[in-house]
Symmetry: D2
Subunit: 336 residues, 4 copies
């Protein structure tokens, strides 16, 4: 059950509500986000929702039977929009393109990509500064200094920045240099990291686990929301199956299903999803028609020379074609 508190709710109001809930064998967690105050009440008994709803300090009350609550569409029916400032936003029902290099490599590389993206009208740039690597002996990214440089160039081009965070200790240091924190597939159930990101007032995009269910993804989002941060994006990035013809199995089924279960925008990552450069474009277009609110892909001036994931990274020409066609698909979809 989600109880939205009114702005005027006092602490004694909240105490009284919790007492009433407790009498009905419900336990309540108070949630304060950048946009509102809520009580999430968990319990299995039957409780008369009207008797609660009439208490002072309450704006409204909703029953939510899902295992996730605040991210559920059963509570908030209208699609959420994540606002990034300067009129740039990611809106449920709209279509946003995010692109950039796998890893931030050099100023020259970033300038070149930023210029390309500006030309194609992409306004959010991705780039990894802290790279989670399977092997400890691999390049792990340029770190904070790389991110600062990346951010400065993005700002020069009027673009917003999304970058992966891999450790709670980095959250604060990254704060001034990212517009969206990305939680990668290996950290999708790093509850400690999610919890800390709940304290931040900047958006968070959570990738689905390598073999994570949609329910788990939504509960991971609930972690961030319930600790105070409503600005959330979900990201489908491919799951692990028996098929070895692609790096991962991009699961577009998740798109309409997540859109039905949650009010949060759904972004698709075809670069990691299929992991084969020449198929990133058709899978992006397919993602649009499946209902995605955006795509995120990798682009590099010379993919074959990229420091990481060259196999799934587009060059500028391919990137321009993708952007152009994806927009046509989104326009067609808008007409439906």
């Amino acid at each position: 059950m989600i109880i939205t508190l009114s702005e005027s709710a006092t602490s004694s109001d909240i105490e009284a509500i919790c007492k009433a809930l407790s009498a009905g064998s419900y336990s309540a967690s108070e949630v304060r986000t950048q946009f509102g105050r809520y009580l999430v009440a968990i319990g299995s008994s039957e409780i008369d929702i009207r008797s609660i709803g009439s208490l002072p300090g309450i704006k409204d009350v909703h029953r939510v039977s899902d295992s996730y609550k605040l991210v559920s569409k059963k509570w908030k029916v209208s699609p959420s929009t994540v606002k990034l400032g300067n009129g740039i936003e990611i809106a449920g029902g709209g279509f946003t393109i995010i692109a950039g290099p796998c890893s931030i490599e050099s100023e020259e590389q970033v300038r070149s990509i930023a210029a390309h993206l500006k030309e194609t009208g992409v306004s959010i740039m991705r780039g990894g500064a802290f790279k989670p690597r399977t092997s400890p002996y691999t390049f792990r990214g340029l770190g904070l200094e790389g991110l600062k440089m990346f951010h400065a160039i993005a700002r020069d081009s009027g673009m917003k920045v999304i970058s992966e965070v891999v450790a709670t200790a980095d959250i604060e240091a990254m704060y001034d240099y990212v517009d969206i924190y990305q939680v990668g597939t290996r950290n999708t159930q790093n509850f400690n990291l999610l919890h800390e990101l709940g304290r931040i007032d900047k958006p968070v995009m959570i990738k689905r686990g390598m073999s994570g269910t949609l329910d788990e993804l939504l509960q991971s989002a609930e972690y961030v929301f319930s600790n105070g941060n409503e600005a959330l994006l979900l990201c489908e990035r491919g799951i692990r199956t028996f098929e070895k013809a692609y790096r991962n199995t991009l699961d577009l089924n998740s798109v309409p299903v997540l859109k039905e279960k949650s009010h949060l925008p759904v972004i698709v990552d075809p670069s990691h999803g299929i992991g084969i450069r020449r198929f990133v474009e058709p899978m992006s277009l397919a993602a649009v028609m499946a209902g995605a609110d955006g795509v995120i892909y990798e682009v590099h001036p010379a993919p074959e020379d990229a420091l990481s994931d060259a196999d799934q990274t587009l060059n500028f020409e391919e990137s321009s074609v993708l952007v152009n066609r994806a927009r046509q698909c989104a326009a067609l979809r808008d007409g439906f």
Copy 2:
């Protein structure tokens, strides 16, 4: 290695070629289809392709390193077209819609669906007469009598028929009443059935196994081709994964990959693929943009009353919307 024989090749020509191949430690299988004669030669040693190519009776010679040969795009670069007569065909690079009931239930049901499909311009009707059922105590379809009725109504409406064959013993009896034999996911490696379908001069659509790799699907197609039947369609119908939010995980990654590996048309089945009625349409549109040559879905005048698979079956209104939108997507794709 695939050797295309010239029309004038004599049996002594072939004998001489096989002898030369054998000298190079290759063993050859002769393949005669409705459209040509070939020798498929398998061997691991190095053999001078020119020394073979100059022998009498040979039109051309290609090396094919894939585990499948005749269905490989390395041999035949141009997309294949499956012709069904009366100008109806399924062409690689085009877009075909196939629809109909899961099970053939009654004359009334079939007439109603045929009328709906005719109205929307769909020219190939699907319908199961022999149903493979997990439980022996479930309705297994109306059998041959049902198929005859179905075929007669389809013909009245100028439509072609696709229906599943589950036993070699049924192939002949079904012959006059189907235009395309469908091999279901549970029989995708029933090599005996595939072998027998190679003797038939009617097209065969093979569904991917429930957890079948693309390579296995292509080798299953090779079984039919190598036994004499070139008229083949591949069908993606969803794979089995850990995710239980959908019946199967429709794997659209397979579409561009199969199209690159093989010259055969690729059809997508979103009804079985995602198995949730309200998501059949977005997944169909996604399939178009992923590059599918067609979709096959289930439609019923009253899905909730259908004898089987009601959860994944559209009603006429939903079906009309799907057809209309899928065609707009295909038109947009044609422009790319």
Copy 3:
């Protein structure tokens, strides 16, 4: 619901029972096996089991809520035994070893293996005459002539024979030369083949599908049983997962679960299961401790020269060690 008919039940008795069931909205299938006569009644309404049980011609009545009925332990609590004649049997709760070559290759090969098995006290020999092969260009086995030779040598050594059947058309021809028909993983849902094997009075061992659930395996067994053949064995042979360090993922969890769900004996195939020769032995011993009623593995005088599956085939020395240790494990288990 399963109704066991008394020996004296007349056809009018059965008619009366079916009528009563039908009145309760149940539909009944009559099943006659080599050991008994049953009615399997399917329906969802509440029906008073006592009102049925008191009708003439009935021995007893059981409710079985599983999707499979006659193979369920809810119906038959005591473990089943498959008798092969000459005192050789596979008993639930006992421990049987089955071994032999992947493919029957030559008289010399078979004689050598038969002598080895006799020496180690193995009394059931496996060997493939009809091989299901992913590629149509691979050796498909010696066929019926090979099987006849194999059977003759086995009989000379006092051993029983298990061999795979891949086509309904072969069932009759194989009849005199096998003691157990094996249904392979690719045919585990070839319902037509299963149905026909129900007409036979020889035992059938059904392998789990490559990505088949335990429920599906039990329903496949139900197909055979419900068409008249009670002599059944279930076989775990590894499933398909994301892990590529082994050929398949032998799933020993299935052993205690299948033993709890069904009264049928459970055999484990570690050769196909893990697919790595040097690990066939530890996985066999693990299978014993997990509760398997037997193991089936591959042995060859010179595994590296075997025509198929050399990687998972033991030599005689390894085979003797396996047999010896597996028996010690079984003896320890018996004491628990």
Copy 4:
């Protein structure tokens, strides 16, 4: 390539070695653990190992072609032993039993379990103080205070303690109260956490990811080792598959394969692996015969009242039977 440095190696020796490696296009990482000093050199070119081996400061040099290096058996052939003090150790090739509650709940609960374990001769007790939970609204454990109490009771009984660490921030605070840090399945690729555990001089047990490959598990272990901590244990705990008859699919294939790939001890967790209480015992015995160096399972005085994972937790009687039988299996295995 792994270069073991001699105790007398000076920093100028190391510099010279790195220079020589660099000349051969290899880059080297220096590793200092509680037991030795190494250089791990990564490169793809051919380099003459003898020219390196003769440099001053080097004890020996090994080529290791695996993606993991220091945990590979190609480098260290003999099985590793993890020593916990007071003669308690986990030895590769031996057999160790670890047991305890899922969550630490109360002093009474812990005392009761400690007494039971002492009686059965189990000397390492598990218990969760920081619980990673899918839902943010679930009980997350008693935290550090709970761990302190747990540790005190374990010490009273002469037992060692293993407990899960979920955040780098907790490592130091837990230090005095654990003998083994456990990294759970959701953190198996939390490289930040692994890196920090490399700085600690207490053993770490890493669980396989929910859908992690063995190669990934070994590379996660490499993270800890390469940052300075050699005292490592690997833990198989079940993987995610399509089968829903069990909570996870305990993958015993991993046991002999991990034992062949790595010198680290392999522990099996059947409680989480199969997740069904009555099958924890047979899967434990199977793990022994598959070659495991130990098992870890959950036990509780009243499993049905446990705060978490009641379904996979044994009572004392079941636990005693498991311990007794597992030891008999281990004794039989020792004789092989």
